[in-house]
Assembly symmetry: C2
């Protein structure tokens, strides 16, 4: 910077002012500086800048996993925002372990990021206090931990669960099995509540099966395997769960939607292509990330005020994995696929 100043015939302070744009600088000084910057191919050292000013142009994000495409898709939108607004994005994965989550946040905190985007892996988030104590803007995406509200972007989980359930109920199902990777995550609890709400109108309640977060679709607890095999209608609460259920159904030789109807969560590009294609609740994943970034940026720029809680609507995409219960007469002839192919899509 000293070299730039010398070459431009100004002081380092002026160079700084030109580069930061904070203070007014005479047009010709600015030009001199810019020319020198260009000639010397100079770039400010962001670490030194942060050290002095206390403000860094980095944003930290922590997600439960990077090998589940749902989270990186959110990050893709956040990263695009960062790129647009001149921030760098540090990414950490908690691996669905609260301990690691806390440790990672503590480590990220040392960099005093301008903001935090957190997709917590469980209801309790101890490290939250530390982020707040450091007065670093914080936005939760997809899920929020227990405790006082913060800025938070999610979908309307109750409505999402209810939509899936209502669809099945309208087809004639009264007995619904809900498969969830975990019972400790709030958004999943709410989806279950949505299902329960709808079933309650008929004096019924969902059977909830915990299938685990583990990646491999081959491994399911024995009880889950049985319960899935005995279900006549299933709502899978996460993308990975949908796959687990499908694999389990294959193992037990149950046919979709003839023997069992299936509603998936998260609309992935393979779902329309699967046979039968999968009816699913489509989340606006990219939008979650975009809005989370927008909200964080506002806070970084000093917006104060009450926590903002955005709940985005979901769409139920009707495809061919759901049908009336097998007991119904409509099913007596013809495969399920034939039955629905023309009707939907």
């Amino acid at each position: 910077m000293k070299d730039v100043a010398k070459r431009a015939g100004v002081s380092v302070a002026t160079v700084s002012n030109v580069l930061s744009g904070d203070k007014p600088v005479r047009a010709d000084s600015r030009e001199q500086v810019m020319a020198a910057v260009e000639a010397l191919n100079y770039r400010v050292n962001p670490a030194a800048s942060y050290l002095r000013s206390g403000r860094s142009k980095i944003v930290a994000a922590i997600v439960p996993a990077l090998d589940n495409p749902f989270f990186p898709t959110i990050l893709a939108a956040v990263e695009a925002g960062c790129q647009k607004d001149g921030y760098e994005l540090i990414v950490a994965s908690s691996g669905n372990q609260p301990q690691i989550e806390d440790a990672r946040i503590a480590a990220l905190l040392q960099w005093k990021p301008a903001g935090f985007i957190v997709i917590p892996c469980a209801g309790e988030l101890k490290a939250r206090k530390q982020i707040e104590a450091a007065r670093i803007p914080l936005v939760f995406a997809d899920r929020s931990p227990d405790g006082a509200p913060s800025d938070f972007v999610e979908i309307d989980n109750v409505a999402a669960g209810a939509a899936a359930a209502r669809h099945l109920v309208q087809l004639g199902h009264r007995s619904i099995t809900v498969c969830t990777p975990s019972l400790t995550v709030r958004n999943l609890q709410e989806r279950i509540a949505g299902v329960a709400q709808v079933l309650a109108e008929f004096g019924a309640q969902p059977l909830v099966v915990e299938t685990g977060l583990g990646g491999a679709p081959e491994l399911l607890p024995g009880s889950a395997e049985t319960q899935i095999a005995e279900a006549s209608a299933i709502i899978a609460l996460m993308n990975t769960t949908t796959l687990q259920v499908l694999a389990s159904l294959n193992r037990s030789g149950r046919s979709v939607p003839h023997d069992v109807s299936l509603v998936g969560f998260d609309d992935y590009s393979w779902m329309p292509v699967a046979r039968p294609s999968i009816t699913a609740v489509r989340q606006p994943v990219e939008q979650i990330g975009r809005l989370a970034w927008a909200q964080l940026l506002e806070r970084i720029n000093g917006a104060s005020g009450a926590p903002v809680h955005r709940q985005l609507p979901v769409e139920l995409v009707l495809r061919n994995s759901t049908a009336a219960p097998a007991a119904g007469m409509a099913q007596a002839f013809g495969g399920a696929e034939l039955l629905t192919v023309g009707k939907r899509r």
Copy 2:
């Protein structure tokens, strides 16, 4: 740090020595320091540390996209390595645009990361010179740009293409259509070469169709759409391409594997669950990331020597999307699904 020093009754230099572990410190001094660190809940400021030492504990990664699960899966392994070895990971996406790629790398360079992991989006990588000029360790993963070799972890692309082709040839196919998202990426070129090699033995050559990197499987150039509809055996060179092809095949009403055989690339969890399940080349994605990190860490720790080029083997996972050509007598009766279900898997 001054506070810690005071509380421990030593100088800041000693605190630094304890914390960095670089220089020997008497055991009791060390204990005093650690106690003070604990009591004050002190953490070193990594930016200040870097500013002084010129060494930062951050690693930068740039990938073509974050909304294609292939790249985040590699990043997941890299992130795990970073976490284990005490580095933070800055992630950037080039969005498959060489211009942005260069700009992002230039920006990341300002942080003087300890190392770079790059998955380039095209053959030319201008910014490579800058990374090398800054003497920052650099490892390419999945693909390498044109030019002098560097540390590089990839699969054996020629063998992968050949394996897919050989499988189809053994089933009796001689006419093979290769669908590739792009022609400018080296690893895809090599896969095509692998296919061509095998076909050459029979005096044939593949028909290569460029389907584009765009996300939406609905949109394909008209010519591609036609060529896919007319194919009898298709090799799709990327995960997204597999989906594009499947969607296109659906539109044209072609049945897999009865009318057309399909070999996919990248073995995703939905492939076994699709109907028919998809025969695919399985890449050791997680291993690519793990080895890339291992290699980078060695360089960060000062390893010198010739560029290391690792080529990992792939597996061809046989499922039900491939069969003998429809002209064959074996196909005369029975649906494709029935025909193969029992044989494979």
